[in-house]
Symmetry: C2
Subunit: 824 residues, 2 copies
Amino acid sequence: MGHRFGDPSNPLLVSVRSGARKSMPGMMETVLNVGLTKDTISGLIKLTGNERLVYDAYRRLIMMYSDVVMEKARGQIEPEEGLGIRRQLEEIMDEVKKEKGCKNDTDLNVDDLKRLCGLFKERVKNVLKKPFPDDADEQLWGGIGAVFASWNGKRAIAYRRIEGIADEWGTAVNVQAMVFGNMGETSATGVAFTRDPGNGENKFYGEYLVNAQGEDVVAGIRTPGPINKESSSEHNKTLKTLEEIMPKVYRELFGYQKKLENHYKDMQDIEFTRENGRLFMLQCRIGKRNGPAAVRIAVDMVKEKLITKEMAVMRVTPAQLDELLHPMIDPKAERELKPIAKGLPAGPGGGVGMAVFTADDAEKWAKEGSKVILVREETSPEDVHGMHSSQGILTAKGGMTSHAALVARGWGKCCIVGSSSIHIDEENRRFTAGDTVVKEGDWISLNGTKGNIYSGKLPLVEPDIEHDKYFKGFMKVCDDVRRLRIRTNADRPEDAAIARRFGAEGIGLCRTEHMFFDPARIKSMRKMIVADTKGDREKALGELLPYQKEDFAGILKAMEGLPVIIRLLDPPLHEFLPQEESKKKELAEELGISIEKLEARMQKLHELNPMLGLRGCRLGITYPEITEMQVQAVFEAAAELTLTGVKVFPEVMVPLLGSQAEMKNQYVIIKARLEEVQKRYKVKFHCMIGTMIEIPRAALVADSIAEIAEFFSYGTNDLTQMTFGFSRDDIGSFLPNYLEKGILPKDPFQSIDRDGVGKLISIGIERGRSTRPNLEIGICGEHGGDPDSIKFCHSVGMDYVSCSPYRVPIARLAAAQAVVESKK
Amino acid sequence: MGHRFGDPSNPLLVSVRSGARKSMPGMMETVLNVGLTKDTISGLIKLTGNERLVYDAYRRLIMMYSDVVMEKARGQIEPEEGLGIRRQLEEIMDEVKKEKGCKNDTDLNVDDLKRLCGLFKERVKNVLKKPFPDDADEQLWGGIGAVFASWNGKRAIAYRRIEGIADEWGTAVNVQAMVFGNMGETSATGVAFTRDPGNGENKFYGEYLVNAQGEDVVAGIRTPGPINKESSSEHNKTLKTLEEIMPKVYRELFGYQKKLENHYKDMQDIEFTRENGRLFMLQCRIGKRNGPAAVRIAVDMVKEKLITKEMAVMRVTPAQLDELLHPMIDPKAERELKPIAKGLPAGPGGGVGMAVFTADDAEKWAKEGSKVILVREETSPEDVHGMHSSQGILTAKGGMTSHAALVARGWGKCCIVGSSSIHIDEENRRFTAGDTVVKEGDWISLNGTKGNIYSGKLPLVEPDIEHDKYFKGFMKVCDDVRRLRIRTNADRPEDAAIARRFGAEGIGLCRTEHMFFDPARIKSMRKMIVADTKGDREKALGELLPYQKEDFAGILKAMEGLPVIIRLLDPPLHEFLPQEESKKKELAEELGISIEKLEARMQKLHELNPMLGLRGCRLGITYPEITEMQVQAVFEAAAELTLTGVKVFPEVMVPLLGSQAEMKNQYVIIKARLEEVQKRYKVKFHCMIGTMIEIPRAALVADSIAEIAEFFSYGTNDLTQMTFGFSRDDIGSFLPNYLEKGILPKDPFQSIDRDGVGKLISIGIERGRSTRPNLEIGICGEHGGDPDSIKFCHSVGMDYVSCSPYRVPIARLAAAQAVVESKK
């Protein structure tokens, strides 16, 4: 620049900025105009011939420096609103402006600014008990220290938590020569993006201010103008564009931005300043963008051959892709309001409806055409019909893997759980949240992506991904890159169809137990459970057979040509029995037995730790007739479809296995029934018989299990429970404390614990393939929809992941990213 | 022998006998006198000049052959009592004897025997629809086939189950020349042991019969005489000894038996026959013996330098050693009776007392001087005082690792659990078992070693191992051989003292929770649990501190000079709260809170799967003040003892750990308190801080845990629960079926599952020692007292096993056997 820092006759001013590996816009501190002292002020005035510029710079330096260096960095970080030194200096400046009748900062003249600097220094000394330093070196080192210190500021830490940036990275500090956009009407400053960060359109997009420093653009003291017609909006369309008033500068800038984007091969966020006639580029960094923009930019850049497909898949985060998939509460409407309560964001998207407090009401109201939100303490399988009828689900209890959360995510339904600040009064059909009382029928709105609850009826914005060419194009790019196949967890043909539209390549988990909760079937199910003899049990199972067959036919047809893994009955039988006294009485009457007998039978089924009791394959081994009925239903459905020309690929999965002997026991039963049905129908269809690996022992003895099982599917929910010794239902009493104290880095039910559970998974894969090299291995726990976990599944060599229908696109993306990351 | 098989003029007769690897006395079939046909009969008569002998042999052949070969081996195995061919032939013989007025078989003359043979053959043909074969070869091959077939006879299979003999071993068949002890008054036959199998005394011990075949000695048709004075008993003391009537034969025999024992280096069970003047040794095999005999023989043979110490430890099975440790129901009294019911043998030994049906009654009656047996559906920690007051415990529910079983074994108390055929009517204070009704106060007797329940008061036989020089000598031999150290699980100074007398080298597990059930303390414990604030909790903990300190002082003193591992509070808090309404009310009053508040707090503590909930170190992390109080009590006790000159080695163990972070959290708390106490008391004592490995994840990340933990103790009860996904409390619904179907080879809670749990243990040891090579590793689960599991612990390189006090001698033996077996 031809100047020297601290030289009284030819002074250089510098800015001190952060330089983190990943941009954290607005989260780190900056100090501008460093180097102005009594001595250099006069030198700079002589040099620039612009006294006003110099005092404007000096008052800016005092404001920023006293705030960032003298106050925050000295441990008085983030004082209460309105009490900080900066706020006090701003008030002084507002007073002076008011006194002078000025509207804009630029209206203040040199004398005003000189007076202001004096007032500022006096206040700083009074409040911070230290004079503003009049030494260039002291200013510089102070600034450097403060920028480093701001890495550990509250805001920066919070931002890193959200963005997953490691604390250990730290920041660089950049010391950069100052240039002045505030040197008069031939000077200007601005920020711009090389593409539109709001929708990804390939247009140069930005704002500028004449006679200003960069911070003025961000601060919004004056309304900045659009740099070109493409950038103009409602907000600024009356203002002249940079292209109009400084066409030469604009053309030069336009050239630079193209060059920068081509160099960095990504959309750039740039800062520029014109000092008198000369254009300076101050900064450029990867530009932040929202989900739709990220997708469009990635797809366009591949088309433009600017980036490869592998680079493209890294340009969209799973969270950004998720933005495209759910109807959202209109962000504009939401911006105006304060939530009445918050909870855990268990099912993304928006839900708007009238509050109801029982599942039966939800179903009834919905049938009558009302939109409802089901509000419950927590949900149980008996609530499922009501949950399905609702626009969204809100619970006061439960975590991210509670019943409500699991069911809602499976359906892509908006859901907020564990909102502990709402108090439900079910009897009087209302809940309170702070001062707000929400009665039955009152409208409420849920933002399930953020966990915010609003009273009233907020507008929704619907996604239309099926006609979104960028979404589809991006998915194609992901598919070209990924190795993992993506299946879905779906229990009903409707869900299977949705998942297929989202790109699912099969069903990784079809649970058969949800099918039994239908009122028409639950009676037979309950009869089966309370049966005293094998004969009675078989009779009740016989009643269930046609229903099961119909279910399987529906789902196999919806997935024509693709594999469908059907899991045999898994949950403990008591889950199917009613809890309420009235329902028990009803059941006893229906079954024609005494209430005492029913209760005795229920008592017998009671378990101290039901998760580790009679469930999974232990049911099918203890009562082989259950397995027989279920596989007969699967195979008859498959046979009949095959006869009508539908290609089906059922796979039967034995749950909760811990040993080869269990696998053998069930395999023999299944295989016999398969051969019997194929012989009876005179058809052939392919059917693999495999197992879930969800008990630690199963992973440890996987070699012997794989001698019989033809596929493995990791049930990571249960595997995590048993590997940690955590009951998902009961960890509420200590998990929050564990996360807060950092004893657990994250909830292991949300993202696979690589060190423990992951090790067990690796052992199981290695041992399983040691005896059956072509063993098909996948995952069907909740983790199958978690990007980090999907990357883990790729790294250990699984064949597929299976997730809920609405997570399929996310999984396709994560699987593609896994390929790229594993090459690094 | 100079004869030829089937040669009419010079015939050889043979016996066909089994030859299994391990002797199965009486369980396999034998056929004697094979080769007698019309042709060879006359030849043999000519050869021996003894027609009576030949027809006696012939009738024996027909009896045995028709039974063993023609009936049993042809699938009509083990016919109903009284219907078999043998029984029918015996009846014919009895009739003939009656007719002739004979008392003994030997009183029948040649004609009688000839007639008998005719009658026998006729009956055989009529009943078995096949004539008795008159062909020597056919007889031989028939016999060989039948002996092979008897390997799969019901008796043989049952015996193998009990003795742990593998089905795959199979048997050899020996074809051996016949000699005849029934050739007249100069012939004889007998069986003998080289030492007394009843007490191990080094004396030649046996019985003989003149003019008889070996089977007659066993069958007890005539009373055999003692071979020498040392062998005479009440039973046969009036009879002449072999030594007296055939002194030369006896001397020859005596020489042989010494030679055989010296050759085989073990006590021999021999069969001999004198045919006219010549002595034949028919068979010798390792002699069966009872526990005391096994121990004495082993010790004596080491002293005699016949065997090494390593050989000696293999000569006593853990079950035999166990016989020495418990008061037993007098076997003579038991032999006369049929049990009224059976159950699982959970606590060995005998227990005799009056039936009571509540723990309070048990305690009350016992205080009044009565001996009682506590009879419960199942027991809970609230019953412990009553269990302790009882002579034995009987439950209708529960398995080998139920609460009752664990507590009883810990105290060496007789216990039978899961006796499903008894029906308890607690209200009317009685139970029924079949037709027997046992009312409160009625005497019953339990054989806890076998699981038999008798009505009435049976006599007990008490062991006195402290003055048993053979027991002590044998233990010394074991100690010389073993590498594993043996500790004990003991919660009270009394138990610690018992264990020490049994040879325990420290305490491997001192559970602190049992201490809280004392009525004087439970109130403070409950106050702590229902406390709303940290302050209230600390106050209640403060009340517990002196009790805990006293407990620890007692146990540290009892174990002076030896390490004592104290485990921090482990069980879920709700276990300490009362279950009954009346007790709840009482508690609420005592605590001065409303019953509603109490119930609300209890409801909050309720968990769906308490085994996987808030317990173990999760308690100490959530409420650090609990850990602080406990370790303060330990360290103050240790400091005060040290000041009085008692050498103490406390070790603090953190339970239910799954990660390094948990270990770190507790380590910091414990270490700080240790330093504080040592500084305050101005003493130094050594204290390791370590953890239990009982969660699968802990084994998988053992390398990182061992960076902090100074010792590992495997809690194989919980580790087995979580590795299998089995809740011990709930497996009753499927475990019996699993064992019956062979899906599980054995109950994994009794003996370590080497394939699954064992693999995890190995992984944990390997990883743990990878970061801390001198890591002390032991086991403190119930498996620590199981000989097979102890051998596993040796093989994977553990430093010690810890078991209940009464299992310590068994563990010392098993540890020694492990050394020998691992060298093979």
